[in-house]
Amino acid sequence: MTDVAMSAPTNHAPLIAADGVPLKLKLARTTRRMKWRAFLLTVPLVLFLLIAFVMPIGEMLYRSMHNPTGSNVMPQFSVAIQDWDGEGLPSEEIFKIFVEDMTAAKKNREVGKTIGNLATRVNYEIPGSRSLFTRTARKTKNIKEGPYKEALLALDQKWENPVLWRTLQRVSKDYTLAFYLAATDRKYAENGDIVSADPLYQIYLPILFKTIWMSALITLFCFIIAYPVSYLLSTLPLRTSNLLMILVLLPFWTSLLVRTSAWIAMLQTQGVINNIMVYLGVITDESRIQMIYNLTGTIIAMVHILLPFMILPLYSVMKTIPPTYMRAARSMGASGTYSFIKVYFPQTIPGIAAGTLLVFILAIGYYITPALVGGSDGLLISNLIADHIKKTLNWSLGAALGTILLVVVLVFYWIYNKLVGVDNLKFG
């Protein structure tokens, strides 16, 4: 059967175009050319996505695991130490290579290959060990001959600590999970096991959970405020609703920084709201309420800033729901509440889904507003990431935290997709 179908066309002479090329071939060529042209039109976008999106994220993933400081600074030692079994102290031979590498590295002024880089890297693992490296490196050039172990210990007794050498062994490997451990409040114990960090130093997981929880809260507040507003906008006559729409859009078009600063002026203890309350006698001058530079301030400012992202999808969905459906339900005897729950609300779900997803994902990575009004307890995970990129310069830890945040967002997106279905989203 198939054979017949396959061989059937060969029984006929192929159709030939005017220039002698088989028509089929010519058609294929033309479609291919058209496809290419279509593809060329998308090239700017593809390039843009590649350069501005795929490459930076790839770089971030790579940096969070790849830190070649150890092998950059001490090329010979980082290979030699891998043969050590981790018992007692390394052999005299390894000590010799260590001293030689350190003397050579001390002369190196190339960025990323200095003793200072290695000292900083080890200091992440053993806080307080930084100066041991810089101090020792100043003196190793005086060690001219063996025994090297004794000579190094004579410079500083701290080199007798096997934990230091085990850490150096770990740091000498280019690929490491250490930054993911740090980003989840864990660390390597002295014997190499993975353990939880001291509760006093645990910060990343609590802040991550707080970020998720706050984003959920902000999304909820946005929904509660946006739903009635969108309903009003979609049911009012066009002229009035357009006017009200401008009131929604005007802040949306205003700079983020301006809106955040405006909230500072409103909410601070000497600000507009506190002043009015004192004037009206609601509170006394001494008991002014702290509404900014804390969690409350962050939530208020972020709900305001993200509100349009909830209103617009909701509005666009509600606009398409014919009012006749509700009237039909009422005419058949359903109460107002019942018809709203059974008829109106289910039809707005695509808008709710889109709005909550937008607001939640924007909130979870928010940076500027919490940085300005967050004070001490309103900080989010993105502020810690910025801190590591800009202040402590621990880019690997910043990258690991960024990757975790990305994974969290993807997981939430996946759950969301299971619950609502991405095809059901309606962004407007």
């Binding site: 960025v111 200072g116 910060i203 000497q270 001490s376 900080l379 310069l393």
Partner: protein, 362 residues
Amino acid sequence: MKLTKLLASTAVGAAIALGSVAAHAAGDLTVVSWGGAYTKSQVEAYHKPYIAKTGANIKSEDYNGGIAEIKAQVEAGNVTWDIVDVELSDAIRACDEGLLETIDHSSLPAGDDGTPATDDFLAGTLYDCAVANIVWSTIFAYDKTKIENGPKTMADFFDLGKFPGKRGLRKGAKVNLEFALIADGVAAADVYKVMETPEGIDRAFAKLDTIKKDVVWWEAGAQPPQMLADGEVAMTTAYNGRVFNAVAGEGKPFEIVWDGQVWDLDLWVIPKGAKNKDTALDFLKFSTETKQLAAQASYISYGPARKSSAPLVGKFHNKDIDMGPQMPTSPANLANAVQNNFEFWADNADQLNERFNAWLAK
């Protein structure tokens, strides 16, 4: 035809503009500092005389400290900052990591009295990659119109019973831990010895706990005088020069408490591969001469790093205020003072800031 012409002329125009920008950039010296009253004092004392002497163009930029920008520029191979004013612990760390040019101390000019530079600079102010220009200090200050019989000691700053009201503190572990221990009765000389032990750190945090709920945290040096003026806080830690300039320049009724001050250095550094490295080095030498350092002290109350500058320090530039007693290094102010231990902070800053952040978030 018309379009081609337009394109051609635009291209030529752009080329000329680019060319002139490039030529301009090569001559401009980009000097980066902390902004506000401090940068102003440098412009008056360093930049203006240097421009008058050499005819060079100086572009002044502000930043908020740290070595992130220097690191980013050096790693990208596009260094646009020629000379930067940094804190000591940052200078040491950046130098250790190979981000800075080294500076030959013997090439620095001798003092006005003929003392060689290496003897003229105060002990501990010259480093492989950095030359100090000023001594500054973190102190605490209050508004004397609002508190009668004001605080006298660091312990008073932590005493909410005796002096109720909000406190301003810099957001970060550095200096706050020192202050807490001094307030808790540790002698200034022993502060870092106590901080070397885990119990000492616990003790410092326990002391900070006693005022935590009343603290407003600041980050930029210009904030604390503003917070005092607005009445947001009853007292606040601050950089001494900023408070002094609010008093002398704007007539604010602030009072500085020198007890327990933590003093530190600001230094010039040249990022590795700076475009105008030679001009930057020349500017560095010029600005740290005896006369320029002394002149800066008449614009802001930071102490000059050269011994030979001290006798030349006179009055505030437009008021009859003797600058000598306003300096962190004045003997009366040094009675109970701590010098910031850069090695301790280079070793422990990451860990302690993590603990500080965890403590803040609780």
